[in-house]
Symmetry: C2
Subunit: 381 residues, 2 copies
Amino acid sequence: MTPTPDLRHRVVLFTEDDPMLLDSGGRLDHVEVAYETWGTLDADGTNAVFVCHALTGDSHATGTPDSPGWWETMIGPGRPVDTDRFFVVCPNLLGGCRGTTGPASVDPATGTPYGLDFPLLTVRDFVTVHRRLARHLGIDRVLAAIGGSLGGMQALQWALDAPTEVGRAVVIAASSRLSAQNIAFSAVARSAIMRDPEFADGRYPEGGGPRTGLAIARMMAHITYLSEQAMAEKFGRRFQDSEEPRHRFGVDFAVESYLEHQGQTFLDRFDALSYLYLTRSLDYFDCFADPTATHALARSADPTRFLVVSFDSDWRFATTHSRRIVRELERARVPVSFREVASPHGHDSFLLDNADYLDTVAAFLDQAAEGIGTAGGHDAT
Amino acid sequence: MTPTPDLRHRVVLFTEDDPMLLDSGGRLDHVEVAYETWGTLDADGTNAVFVCHALTGDSHATGTPDSPGWWETMIGPGRPVDTDRFFVVCPNLLGGCRGTTGPASVDPATGTPYGLDFPLLTVRDFVTVHRRLARHLGIDRVLAAIGGSLGGMQALQWALDAPTEVGRAVVIAASSRLSAQNIAFSAVARSAIMRDPEFADGRYPEGGGPRTGLAIARMMAHITYLSEQAMAEKFGRRFQDSEEPRHRFGVDFAVESYLEHQGQTFLDRFDALSYLYLTRSLDYFDCFADPTATHALARSADPTRFLVVSFDSDWRFATTHSRRIVRELERARVPVSFREVASPHGHDSFLLDNADYLDTVAAFLDQAAEGIGTAGGHDAT
């Protein structure tokens, strides 16, 4: 891993005197969160948009031309999450590896990194940290929580757990519970990491670790992020460095070169233990399993309003996953808009420039923005 | 690997004096083939059905209740490939690891196993061996060549290369060229094997080798053999040994247990080098790339008749792959029947009991059987 990037903010949110109580019953005595913000919080603290990142994302959702973020299409001046109007917050996830407490952090009880002694987390735990961070920033209620994939699950869980704290939730390319196939891919990825001899039961040195296993995990995951059609259009059966097949085991097809590159560059920015922890949280996520899950939302005088978005070529979290979320919310009589967006790019579509998609989110957030104390009209279309 | 099973027959088909010339221009000075047969060859040698196995299959296509084969649904007395009427032949593939010459065989030039010095093979090379074996058995023209997946590709290639030798070709759940996504999965599987330190550049001892990498490869491949729906029905989010989640990294979901089992049992019957070689042959297969590919077929006075079958839930080689084969054959004015069969079981459907599918194949082979010198009518339906 490269050194943690320069983060704008760090804050200790839980301490031994005020520990974080986990969904599992466990606790963490020290939770530090790295986060970034853009724009300015209103005097009354009502214009905050909270961005939840996906599995391998980080707090750097938007940046500068020299250091772009992972969601430039969505966030920035005049973009749907308009940093001229909104105060935008994006923290690194608990359990991650970019400055927020995770398995590579030092366990205060032992003075050494947690490794596999770090507790397994749930999406509710991620949300517990988000809620504490929001309060720390003087935000009682976010105008909106927004995220794609695992990020969307956090927005959804937050609204279920504390509907008065979330004005709107934008749940993109997400799922309320993974399918057997989703879990299967995740299980193979974790096997590749944990069986790598360099994994050493999670006690590998910083900069070392199961590089082979993590690269394999990333390469495989990448296949599920793209549609078959997108892969066909982008690579087809093209060869990387020649017109003719070279008949060898090394890289020959362009798609092989792409995957190798994805696997290798991932090693510089992500930690294997975080990959294990975050994917396992995804596997166990099943936010409507408890029959009372929607009660708080359903009973709220001013419930969270939802926008659920899927992409028609996404086969990681296909539209059926989004429809299940919509159905559960509608059953609880919660206001929810649903849009399946046409896009050839599969699961990754949520990161890409797609006018239908971005306009849909912009319009939904514009409605939320009506009445906040900022200078008026903004034309999102 | 466990010892090679007791094979009924072995034969040396190519020797230093009569070497096998490879599609690549290379040669093999010693090619031995292990194969099994069922039924009796007619005096005029016209009732042979040649079964081509898929990636990880072997010659044991059908057997006894104590030792069943991998295609019991298709082959046997009264089955579509009726061993009471047909002489059925199934060899192990060149490059495989079940008795036929492959990368684990001893290189006569060095006296040590080939390892990665074994030449890369094409599907045409597999067919070259099939053709020689048929001649060795006294078969000038097979009544039919049949196979699923990589087996179907061999049947197709055989008919393209030597249409007078193949009366009918049954091409099931196959492809004329892999998609970028297909190649991508294959590339990640090979990476897992070749980056496993135990791979040792292919010079691992018998019984050793890249067990982790090979298990990972197999687990991942297995996901692509099942449809998402089949996985959901078979496993869903069920836990393996409890009613409640146990929140741990070890196996907890039933689908994890299944994949672990698939990965582990595969180690006992397959060799990592053969996995590399056979998957790479698949990647490069592109049988219609040469614009003259169908000329021999098109000009034949009695061209091979084709049955092309796909399964609607197969996402490894979806119906689009089969349709491409049909289109190319029709363009050459070759007689071809096409059937997309409804099945929830994905790519693996070709191995399963599905009446529509089996009846379709039976009827097609019945037509072929009319006029061969065996006792007449057989009701396949």
